[in-house]
Symmetry: D2
Subunit: 157 residues, 4 copies
DNA sequence: TTTT
DNA sequence: TTTT
């Protein structure tokens, strides 16, 4: 009976960090900037950047680690989650993160903004770009044929 | 490299129709009304209702067939799809539908508006209400423990 | 070139707090719970609740203050924002909030769960319930007539 | 009490058509392709493209007319609307459209896929690219100062 | 602190 | 055909 959904389009602040838990599960972290432009009371253009902590798990983590680079523009769909941790002084702190369940690279392949000579995307992963989408990847029926079975679909409990 | 996402909160115009394909796959259809209110140029309140054709497949279809009733308020997440068919005169026609991949019943259990003696929800399905959510159902990690494996997650290709 | 959008359906943990800035601008704060259910590795049903800090400004703040009560189910659309403040020890802390730009009361009027004798919603505001929607309030054209101009975009009544 | 929201990221099939109603209101139309990739039962990669009819009004129409070109990748937020019309034989037909209330150009300026020598975006509008965002344009408060009033909500510049 |  |  509830919904917790986040949709972001922004640019990576750094290359993702890809790590593995003790049991071998992949987890990727990166920060994503969204910037809004607005006019202040004096009519001057202003902008404000918000930084989001993104975390991805398992296959999506692997894809983020392989294909995303600093500056890259991505679409992220996920949910908001706040978790607690202890800082060095033993105080309980909270951090809010976006747990991604879909990621789509935007712009064209090779179109990252990492600047400099190397050209981020190609360097990270020379293979052809592939979609990082998740539950959006269901096949579609045509004329009410049954859609091909998709294990990602519709598992409600 | 693309996103096709629809989010609706509205009321069912009728009980869903639950059918099965030749191969036994469940498919549910229902119409969903969303109504917006606005003021016209004269400042008079107006409203306009939009009717959406919703289609759900497999487990989500079964849940819709069991638990949803006319008048019920639901949250639907899915994608837009236009398919073609031939009308009785052999002309090609198009119909746009929302292929649901998540459904959440809103309001409280038993809070449907089917009127009449029986009380719609209970009559349709006396068992305990259960969430019809899909990909929102992933577990969440706490303090960066690895989340329990969820086969619905993150299958990007 | 960026998008920062949050969609929540959840229940208020308490009645909203409505305050005014020095210059007279209304601001409402409330916490909203979203709960997800999932099965753990042992197949046992689990649930996890996430608490979201919601902030609304101006007219939407007034509406939240008037009509929302503890337990009420609402739809919130807004954006994520992290702001900093100093705690009592002078340390910089961060808090992530959802700045609402749309709110819709879900369920039926009078359908709140504040319990107690009076019946929360009615007690808070005896007038007829009205939609708190924002930018969803645009009129719609019919057959490509020009839609009536709507000065009320983002103004809920 | 209802929500009708669509979020699309896709590519324009053609340059937009910008027209004006008798009373001088701008309206832009264009088609937008979203493509999903999936694997069929045999494990072969498939893709399916969905075409969406987008309509924008007033300032957003002008911006679309000025800045968007065939092939350009955009983010669209809006609502679903079905309107009726009569075909040449006098039969009532229906068309489903997305009425946009926000548009964001994705990728980098100059990054359109119109191919050919000229380079679509620059040719259409030599001025600096500007955000086409709408209600996302609200300013954000810092440390609970009142946000600057923004008359530009839903007005893109 | 909510809700099912 | 729903709902407020």
């Amino acid at each position: 009976m509830s919904v917790n959904k986040v949709i972001l389009v922004g640019n990576l602040g750094k290359d993702p960090e890809l790590r593995y838990t003790a049991s071998g599960t992949a987890v990727a972290n990166f920060s994503l900037a969204t910037t809004e432009r607005f006019k202040d009371r004096d009519g001057n253009s202003q902008e404000k950047t918000e930084w989001h902590n993104i975390v991805a798990w398992r296959q999506l983590a692997e894809i983020c680690g392989k294909y995303l680079t600093k500056g890259r523009q991505v679409y992220i769909e996920g949910k908001i989650q706040t978790r607690s941790y202890e800082d060095r002084d033993g105080n309980k702190r909270y951090i809010t993160e976006i747990v991604a369940d879909q990621m789509q690279m935007l712009g064209r392949a090779g179109d990252d903004n990492s600047g400099g000579g190397g050209g981020g995307y190609q360097r990270r992963e020379p293979r052809q770009e592939r979609s990082g989408g998740g539950s959006n990847n269901q096949p579609r029926q045509t004329e009410y044929e049954e859609p091909p079975f998709n294990p990602d679909d519709d598992i409600p409990f």
